[in-house]
């Protein structure tokens, strides 16, 4: 049995999802020869540390009751620097402007030669190559399947399962919020504002939805895919971005009458990285509804490969984090 001491830095919805998944999959992990021991958890204000392994149920209960994980006044970066462990699960809120605390946490982890698994897009969209380089130099494993498409395993699919194929291009729907809004506008023949309000009420869209609806979130994910799958040296400024705010119900109706849906499509094709609303034939595998995500990879020997799945949600994102952890430590 291999003991992996890990920290969970960031304990919002996804962080709690990770704790729940580790709890429920404990036996499964043990059968794979992995003893995953969470030694530290930090949220935005507090932290809890136990080098012998934390009681995750107790931490989850305390977070639910009191809104904080513990009483220790120590930040995530401090934990990485001072508490002896092997793996940092970095899930602080994403920051696309400067990478936020997540970037500092990843750098601190690599400086200590620790492995990092993350769902935090911001640092990767800004500094992918630098982070990859640091991880390589320190001998750290760096996995980030959860940054793109939630439960949908696109990065590992391209890099491992489809080994031997050259991936020629990719197009897909990488933002469930936009997909929900466009689907509902089409179904109800309703204006954009009304369906954004509905999505906010259901918790599908944020109070400030700009990050999703202007295509910024999709663009960040494309940058990660362009680097991780296509070996490009791309950053956010290389993406041309058009969001869905100008889409009218009339346009959706016209599209529908001609056999099309309008979807916010992200694509990486040659050197072009592009996010824009596009016409998707109703019988095309990309025409998925609701909050689903979908991606189609064009490969040289396997032809097109399309996967779809839940692109968001705490347990779904946690599942991608778990699969990354297993892929690092399984024998």
């Amino acid at each position: 049995m291999k003991t992996i001491r890990t920290s969970i830095i960031g304990f919002g919805a996804v962080g709690q999802g990770v704790a729940k998944v580790i709890l429920s999959k404990n036996e499964y992990l043990n059968n794979m020869g992995i003893d995953l021991r969470v030694v530290a958890i930090a949220d935005s204000k507090t932290a809890v540390i136990d080098e012998n392994g934390l009681d995750l149920s107790a931490v989850l209960a305390r977070k639910l009751e009191q809104g904080s994980v513990g009483s220790e006044n120590i930040g995530g970066t401090e934990i990485i620097k001072t508490v002896e462990h092997d793996l940092v699960v970095e899930i602080t809120p994403t920051n696309i402007n400067d990478g936020g605390v997540g970037l500092g946490n990843m750098i601190a982890a690599f400086e200590k030669g620790m492995d990092v698994v993350t769902s935090n897009k911001g640092p990767l969209a800004l500094k992918y190559c630098e982070l990859e380089e640091m991880a390589k130099n320190s001998g750290s494993q760096f996995k980030f399947e959860a940054t793109v498409g939630g439960a949908m395993p696109i990065i590992n699919l391209a890099s491992e399962t489809l080994a031997g194929n050259k991936i020629l291009s990719m197009e897909g729907i990488l933002n469930g919020t936009c997909n929900y809004i466009l689907c509902r506008m089409m179904e109800e023949n309703a204006p954009y504002d009304q369906m954004v309000a509905e999505a906010q009420e259901l918790g599908i869209a944020e109070t400030d939805p700009i990050y999703d609806v202007e295509g910024i979130d999709t663009a960040c994910k494309l940058v990660i895919l362009a680097n991780a799958i296509f070996g490009m040296n791309a950053t956010y400024k290389d993406v041309s971005v058009t969001g869905i705010t100008k889409i009218t119900p009339e346009a959706l109706l016209l599209a529908q009458n001609n056999g099309y849906d309008i979807k916010l499509i992200g694509e990486v094709n040659g050197s072009k990285i592009n996010v824009s609303p596009k016409l998707v034939p109703k019988d095309n595998p990309l025409a998925v509804g609701g909050t689903l995500n979908v991606a189609s990879l064009q490969t040289d020997i396997s032809g097109p490969i399309t996967i779809t799945g839940r692109g968001a949600g705490s347990i779904e994102t946690a599942s991608a984090i778990l699969s990354d952890i297993i892929s690092i430590y399984k024998d």
Partner: protein, 169 residues
């Protein structure tokens, strides 16, 4: 463009070659050949239908070659536009000189707007339009959509084009 021809051949050996060779010589791409040997005409000739793709300016040369070699051309049906594309536009489509937008697309000569469906819900609100474009081939269809995107930037319109896999050559 794609051409469909009804021909009549003499019932002697080697006649089909007189049809196929000029098509090949002028770099045409043969799609189908149907040789109706059992439907001999009262004139004793054999009807043959051929469909091929050819550059528009080479068609007359091919027909001349057929006539020179005694192949009689009964009918010629050309279909210039092989590709059909759909694009949606959103914005002040009419007030930004819709005639100019259409003319610029048609002027390319290789593609043209064949259908326009316009929805104008309220004065001062953006309109939405569905454009159907016919083009000689996928390359030209892509070019005319690129042109439309350029025009759209100038006129502050949003172009919603088909996904890449639909337009792939």
């Amino acid at each position: 463009m794609r051409v469909s021809m009804d021909l009549e051949l003499k019932d002697i050996p080697g006649q089909l070659l007189l049809v196929l060779k000029p098509i090949s010589d002028f770099k045409g791409n043969l799609v189908t050949v149907v040789h109706h040997h059992e439907k001999r005409t009262p004139r004793g000739t054999i009807p043959v239908q051929v469909v091929f793709e050819i550059k528009a300016d080479k068609l007359d040369d091919i027909i001349s070659k057929f006539e020179e070699s005694g192949v009689s051309v009964v009918s010629v049906d050309e279909k210039r536009y092989l590709e059909h594309g759909t694009v949606i536009l959103i914005g002040h489509i009419v007030h930004t000189d819709i005639q100019d937008t259409i003319d610029k697309m048609d002027e390319t000569g290789c593609a043209e707007l064949v259908d326009l469906n316009l929805s104008m819900p309220k004065i001062d609100c953006p309109s939405s339009a569905c454009l159907k474009i016919d083009a000689v081939n996928k390359e030209e269809l892509n070019l005319v959509i690129e042109l439309l995107k350029k025009i759209a930037v100038e006129k502050d319109l949003l172009v919603i084009e088909p996904i890449e896999s639909e337009l792939r050559v």
